[in-house]
Subunit: 381 residues, 2 copies
């Protein structure tokens, strides 16, 4: 495989965008990425999206987005539930790395707020096992609640110990103009927030939203001689879709596998990662992701939050632009937002939440309750 570099990024604010259709949102991010890359077109478009068929009555997003962007180029949609953005990047990466395309746009997009909360809850549940989980009445947040309760039981943490994940995310989102939520929260807010699915309360959970993010990628050799953001590692792994089928319910085996492979490709280890945009759909997922990727022993990652390690100046900064928790979680777009944010960190564009001297960053995107996990490692050269 030839090396691939990111030369342009784009994103929209995550919000309830009732005045825009899904194609308009996607194209806003695409045009921003084209402008950032200084290009007018690309050889192909890879769209990451999970639920447009269900929520927007619209499949065939490839030509929908390509035509609206004014680009009559090959375009396809890639789906891995909430991991769709990362999966779309991997598809685009392989198309460019193979030499099949000389450039590609990767766009993650989701428009979720047009429907009622119960319709969105049902749509999110399609990421779980329809026949063996959802059929029993469990929702997606319900599955995460089972994980969190088990984790607290096994390792002796109390609910408040998860607060730093959310507090850090909200503090960082304050400085991200594209974030959905712009308010600080305190430990007291966290503990008093509304219960959703015991022990997950409102401030453990990420908000849905409408939004799109885009990347422009090219062969790395074509941009020699100036600062480059290289995709140094890219790996995907799967686990059972049903949470109950796993031998170790509190270990994200697919996160471990995809991170290990991405580390190998990039020639780095967890100690080399300067910034880590992880998939904090719920606070428990932050904890499990950090452990599977080698940043904490099993059962010990809440300590990283409590001792301040996760803030932009800590030892392993996470959710530096707000994470899923406060930047927002437009599901199929999230994986691309994460990579866009890592690029911003590596280029030193993050102002108050800039990680000092960030040179190597990682993004990890999760589809389902750990069923599909995609890890990317970027390097600034």
């Amino acid at each position: 495989m030839q090396a691939v570099a990111i030369i342009g990024i784009g994103q929209t604010k995550i919000d309830e965008q009732w005045d825009k259709s899904i194609r308009q949102i996607a194209v806003e991010a695409i045009h921003a990425a084209l402008k950032d890359a200084g290009r007018e077109t690309a050889d192909g478009i890879f769209v990451g999206n999970m639920m447009s068929g269900i929520i927007n009555s619209q499949n065939n997003l490839g030509p929908l987005v390509a035509h609206w962007a004014g680009l009559k180029v090959p375009a396809v949609k890639v789906d891995a539930a909430c991991g769709s953005g990362g999966a779309a990047l991997r598809s685009g990466l392989m198309a460019v790395a193979s030499g099949e395309l000389e450039s590609a746009l990767v766009v993650g997009v989701e428009k979720m707020t047009d429907r009622s909360p119960h319709e969105v809850t049902a749509a999110l549940a399609t990421a779980a096992d329809a026949d063996y989980e959802v059929e029993m009445g469990v929702t997606f947040i319900g599955l995460s609640a089972l994980m969190m309760r088990r984790y607290m039981h096994e390792y002796g943490w109390k609910h408040a110990d998860f607060a730093p994940f959310a507090i850090n995310a909200h503090a960082n989102a304050l400085h991200n103009p594209y974030a959905r939520l712009h308010h600080k929260i305190t430990l007291d807010d966290f503990e008093k927030s509304v219960m959703i699915a015991t022990p997950i309360n409102l401030l453990d959970a990420s908000p849905i939203g409408d939004g799109a993010a885009a990347l422009y990628i090219v062969p790395a050799d074509s941009v020699r001689g100036r600062t480059r953001i290289l995709i140094a590692g890219s790996a995907s792994a799967t686990d059972t879709i049903a949470f109950h089928s796993r031998r170790e319910p509190l270990f994200l085996a697919a996160a471990y596998q995809s991170a290990t492979e991405a580390y190998r490709q990039a020639g780095v280890g967890p100690e080399d990662i300067d910034v880590f945009e992880l998939h904090d759909a719920f606070t428990i997922m932050s904890a499990l992701s950090l452990e599977a990727c080698g940043f904490a022993e099993r059962g010990q990652s809440p300590r990283l939050g409590l001792d301040g390690s996760l803030t932009p100046t800590g030892s392993i900064p996470v959710m530096t632009r707000g994470g899923l928790k406060a930047r927002g979680h437009p599901v199929g777009a999230t994986g691309v937002y994460q990579v866009v944010e890592v690029v911003q960190q590596l280029l030193g564009e993050c102002g108050e939440t800039q990680v000092p001297e960030a040179r190597i960053g990682m993004a990890q995107n999760i589809g389902g309750s750990g069923a599909t996990i995609i890890t990317h490692i970027l390097k600034r050269e």
Copy 2:
């Protein structure tokens, strides 16, 4: 890009498979392809599917299928509406061609018959433009009816002139054990069949169904020294998703572009194609596909049916295993069935519908009313 070869195929019968879930159907085809390839696993799985989120309340098909197949490997779903199967093959092809994977399984699967006809009609309509076409009340078959009526008006054909497309498909499906429909039809049947959307009647239209087809692909160099089926050309193109936005409503520009590029890659032209599995969702689509790919002048392809050119012993055999019309059209699986059937032809396994001395075959898969079109050319060496 390094060359890629197909070393295994698998397929299920297309039917109303009410006793099997979508994962079971997919895995039946995967296991058949593994057995055919003489392999036990693959480095990755690419699932082509359009509507599982809507019809089966199940997204995240990658890990669903991988786990059920007993393969804990990276897996992702690729969607291009009814072109999903071809798009999944292209994704798998680029993964192997780039060197990222040393082998890949491509599986197209759809399970459509669990819901009522009006629910399936609504799901199929998500392949069209939700905001500018479906919003007006038009269905997917309605769009094709507009095309067919316009074509008959422009070029002076009558409805019966389209009969040979359907008659040939049904005649060939009689000899395909995996086909959904196993009955001959006559011109009289064709003309007397129930009207669906004027001028499209029941025998112009392909039946839906439940089914899966799979391919096992590897770098061509790894199978030197024996008969190989090479993917000699692979190309994708898009057009406007909305039919009314096209300058030339009766010319499939994306078919022309993708076929032209596939011909270029394979170093062949239409005159070299021994067998062509085209996307006959409706008889009008056969006509338009043949013209865009260079087998007939614009407006003249019904003549190919009337003069017998499309039968297995004709000059350009199409739908040799029954086509969408009689083999059946499980939408996201169709593109993989087409390629499986071309492989069968090139290996001389088609018995009564074998194309004599077939060495070069083409498959063309269409998503939407010509919005995404993917063309593959295979060569036996």
